[in-house]
Symmetry: C2
Subunit: 392 residues, 2 copies
């Protein structure tokens, strides 16, 4: 039996919106490999993105076509809304093949059978899992097709969320808050980092009452001590030490929808300087949330942050947030809008962002973040987790 987290009408609207963008871009056939885009269009949900796979959307065909490995075709049947005749799979000797076969050879065959070999084919040139070899093979096998870049085409459709998507993000944030609390509760001098990570993970996956958790697209990150200036290092089994600052960044996940959350804690009493910096982060964060509303650009939101912290003599160079939602490893970001200088994306109702401003020095860093939704009247936080520096 197939169960999908969204109704068939919602998937059909997504496909229609994708086709509309294809027409605007002069694309007759679209081949997407980003697992989040595959899920968005078909419902497919499996840990099979370590082999080549994809979804075809054709202007001449009603339904998308799922293409993957033979042993994953049953997983597709169990998770997609499309009719099973549109599930196509390649034999196992295409996988890391010792005999020179490549899954894209099979994809080309399917595209030919669909009569797409002379069309303009959009491919996600910079998406995860669309390798240089994949593209080379597809071009070689379909010499009469015209290839064009469609990297963010589906991502752009994903940027505005439906009510059901917002519900899943709401469920994910409940999990995020519970996991953050589990992490804060576990933090103590002498406790290995891996034990704190284990407690966080348990809550992320077990979920909250009546809502089970899914694996997040990024593992919980918790740089501590001198490593708070290294935001993407993962845990070790070294014990935490009294006085350590710790940044916890994590996300609950529900039906692949995320609600990331970051907070900073100190094992003991924070220094005055750290408290001051945390105050600046909170002030800047809220100044940016204050200006976020439909019609405002992403860079204007970032500017409110930057101007606020500048009043305190602080400068920061990287982006402070990004559009978020459905995702698979290695990222829960959507790769479309970012809150930073130069991004002129205009906010619309039901866009969702993770605003994660941070200030890092050599000795410590402070991050305090908010996932938020753009409503008709302004930014609405998904979470009510206290905006503060925690002392544990």
């Amino acid at each position: 039996m197939t169960t999908t987290p969204f109704g068939r009408d919602e998937y059909e609207r997504r496909v229609d919106a994708t086709k509309e963008r294809m027409r605007e871009a002069g694309i007759e056939t679209l081949f997407v490999t980003d697992p989040a885009n595959m899920n968005y269009l078909t419902g497919y949900d499996g840990w099979s993105f370590y082999v080549h796979q994809g979804v075809v959307v054709s202007l001449e065909h009603d339904q998308p076509v799922w293409i993957g490995r033979e042993m994953d075709a049953n997983g597709a049947k169990a998770t997609v809304w499309i009719d099973h005749e549109h599930i196509r799979s390649y034999s196992d000797d295409h996988v890391q093949s010792p005999v020179g076969k490549h899954p894209m050879d099979y994809v080309a065959t399917v595209l030919e059978e669909m009569g797409r070999e002379r069309t303009t084919i959009g491919v996600e040139m910079d998406a995860y899992y669309y390798t240089a070899r994949s593209h080379e093979r597809l071009e070689r096998k379909l010499p009469d097709a015209t290839f064009t870049d469609a990297t963010l085409l589906v991502n752009e459709v994903r940027i505005v969320k439906s009510e059901r998507e917002l519900e899943y993000i709401d469920q994910a944030v409940d999990i995020s808050e519970a996991a953050m609390q589990a992490g804060l509760d576990a933090l103590a001098p002498g406790v290995p980092e891996s034990t704190v990570a284990a407690d966080i993970y348990h809550t992320l996956i077990d979920g909250v009452e009546r809502v089970g958790g899914d694996y997040p697209a990024i593992v919980p990150l918790m740089p501590s001590g001198e490593h708070t200036g290294t935001p993407h290092l993962t845990w070790s089994d070294d014990p935490f030490e009294a006085g350590d600052p710790v940044i916890i960044e994590l996300s609950g996940c529900r039906h692949r929808y995320h609600a990331p959350l970051a907070r900073t804690a100190v094992l003991g009493e924070p220094s005055e300087e750290m408290q001051r910096v945390a105050g600046v982060v909170v002030e800047g964060l809220n100044a940016a949330l204050e200006v976020a509303e439909p019609g405002v650009t992403c860079e204007a939101v970032e500017l409110a942050w930057r101007e606020t912290i500048a009043e305190h003599g602080i400068e920061k160079e990287s982006r402070i947030g990004y559009s978020m939602g459905c995702g698979y490893p290695p990222d829960w970001g959507e790769h479309t809008a970012s809150l930073r200088p130069g991004d002129e994306t205009v906010l619309e109702e039901n866009m969702t962002f993770h605003m994660i401003p941070g200030i890092w020095f050599d000795e410590f860093g402070v991050e305090i973040s908010e996932p938020f939704r753009v409503t008709s009247t302004g930014a609405e936080r998904f979470s009510s987790f206290p905006q503060q520096l925690f002392s544990v």
Copy 2:
């Protein structure tokens, strides 16, 4: 302070072995993006592979060069053995850039500075995270270079393990066994799949006495009921039901080294047919382990399995195992040798494999696996977990 899981001499041996293969292949400069290869050559370990990054090995330079995002350079300093002058980073406006910059523009600049712009450059055409756009950009920016495919060049160096690597796999298997037991203990009718996954995850990350766990490159997979025929679906929050068959596949991880393990359980009494099939899997598994020794080919190992199960009237088409070790999401496999027809890789001492034969029918499937090491006298199992069908 930098701490690496291996001594500097071991990293230098790896780089030397890589250079040797480069010379044999006529490659003067190598650019690797597979996070496992980056780790293997430099020690770098961070969840930053969601942005473009890589490591350069040049025949004219002693040490590799790490290239990544500016905010990850500190993470590199904290984890690599190479001198910090060889850590190079690009500014944040290259990340999902609204202004048309691409990280490979920066990589090209570094290669020019190193005097590599007219050399033969090996790139991992089919590696994770080396996108079609990455390759296109690099070719365009370095028009005088000759690009050649080096997809598995470093992976081939990785296939034979050192004593220290084997120690980490030994530690990982302790974690795998504890997590498998945690999963079997948690399985019961009425318990949500997500709760069992949470208990497994807690053990995977918390680890075992004095050995903390790391995140595995693949999440625990536990298809159940009719879904045992869909090996790569992940959990839901549906409760397990009495009579369900469940396959648990998981791996502990230590310093990024894996020891995957799969077992099959039934919530209640297994049917006679299922017990019969489990017996065939165990018999075939051990027949294959029996023939694995230095000098034997991978396909000969698979043949022993296939002939054994054929005596019981069973055929199976996909590969039954693969070389394993250091890995990052989405895969702990090394993508070199596979145990399957057509793979003529000759086994050598200290190669490590995950042999994971399975037999799937429409109603149920049985998988029972063994991670093993090739010793001078034959296959040695890393795990002593019982080879049986579990009734819980």
